[in-house]
């Protein structure tokens, strides 16, 4: 009996001793979690989209409690920034709402089809095959890879073109990272006009591949009273910081590459 009893007593006794020591130490050296983190976490939208630059809402809550910027969450926007400012005792920082916008109008009506794509329904897979089935290698492929990653159901694909429902877009930027063509851009939500084309080929080629391509004719550049439009690599770009939503550019565009979006405050 003692042959078994003594080892059992010794080992379990040691275990008990260490257990008691540890529980005493954990009480004595306890680190109280910051209450603010819990409160802030409750306020955050919980989309875990990562647009703030932190991996998920939990880490952002910790970072805010540790002094990070309070206006980094595009999903919560201004309302959230104000609430966080109150908790952290900080000044409310300006929080410009950004949304994503697909800079392409290449529906199947506007572009021609190079070949019948029959592979995986994924933009990156399609892009591997001679730049995708669309005649414009810069344009949207309409496979909806961006739609799949959108956590907010803000992307629709119609007739081979992804379109972002601007009221639903939270500006997390997941679709931008997903798009193999890099044609989704962040713009301030208040901006109403964008050049919806990303074609960087010379005018004639661009026009041949897509009916509504920007041909870099410079007319909008000359028309713009705010000098907000520049031509970058044969494609016009509106600087939303300078744009006053006057809409003069859309009137002179010969191809219809500039579009009016809903935009909202």
């Amino acid at each position: 009996m003692t042959e078994i009893g003594i080892p059992v007593i010794i080992v379990s006794g040691l275990g008990l001793l260490f257990g008691l020591l540890l529980s005493y130490a954990s009480k004595k050296f306890e680190v109280k979690p910051d209450e603010k983190i819990e409160i802030i976490r409750g306020l955050l939208p919980g989309a875990n989209c990562g647009a703030c630059g932190f991996t998920g809402c939990d880490l952002y809550a910790e970072a805010v409690a540790g002094g990070a910027g309070i206006n980094l969450c595009p999903v919560g926007g201004m309302d959230l920034a104000e609430k966080l400012a109150e908790i952290m005792g900080k000044e409310t920082a300006a929080c410009e709402k950004y949304i994503a916008r697909v800079m392409c109008k290449g529906t199947w009506d506007n572009v021609s089809i190079k070949y019948d794509y029959d592979g995986i329904v994924d933009c990156r897979a399609a892009a591997q095959m001679a730049g995708g089935p669309s005649s414009c290698i810069y344009g949207c492929e309409g496979m909806g890879s961006c739609k799949k990653v959108c956590l907010f159901g803000a992307i629709e694909v119609e007739n081979g073109l992804a379109r972002i429902i601007e009221e639903k877009c939270a500006g997390c930027g997941k679709c931008i990272a997903e798009c193999p063509k890099g044609i989704i851009k962040m713009v301030p939500a208040r901006s109403e006009y964008s050049v919806s084309c990303s074609n960087h080929e010379k005018g004639a080629v661009a026009r041949k591949n897509c009916k509504v391509a920007c041909i870099a004719c410079q007319r909008c550049v000359k028309e713009c009273p705010e000098n907000a439009i520049t031509i970058v690599d044969y494609c016009a770009v509106i600087d939303p910081g300078k744009c006053v939503n006057c809409g003069k550019c859309i009137l002179v565009c010969p191809t219809g590459a500039i579009s009016k979006y809903t935009g909202y405050q």
Binding site: I6, I10, V11, L14, F18, G19, L22, F29, V31
Partner: protein, 193 residues
Amino acid sequence: MKEILLIALGAILVNNFVLSKFLGICPFLGVSKKSSTAFGMGGAVIFVMTLSSAVTWTVYKFLLEPNGLDYLQTIVFILVIAALVQFVEIVLKRFIPALFKALGIYLPLITTNCAVLGSALLNIESNYNLLHSVVFGLSAGVGFTLALILFSGIREKLEFCDIPDAFQGLPITFIAAALVSVAFTGFKGLFGI
């Protein structure tokens, strides 16, 4: 005195735990990416090894040996080490949270680190007394830290090297580790150890 010096030099250089005995390879490869974390991990291992050497020796001599329970040494030592590591973790979390975060998963991993258990078992095997055991534990930890820091220096340099694709990442790390280990065989026979 001479004996203590020989034990220390033996554990640090000649029979380096990582580079000669190949104990504790997991943290050696895992934490050696940056010198700063290498220092932190080294410090934690030195602390745990020294303390565990003293405690395991005491437990063995006064609890296990008199009762003829030598066969229980492995499980009891693991128990002791696990409790110690937990204790170090609690203390670090309270007093040096930055180091606690930097060590991350590797601190709990000391629990199952064979180097720590190895030093405890070697103490018993070599019939050391309490002082010798503590010195051995301490210098084994120092040797581990030395290897870790030397290697983290090499890995930081490796970051900037043009390594062939096939060797990138772990393969080149293993090759570098082997070369460091070969270099340490130069200490063999030093002071007749």
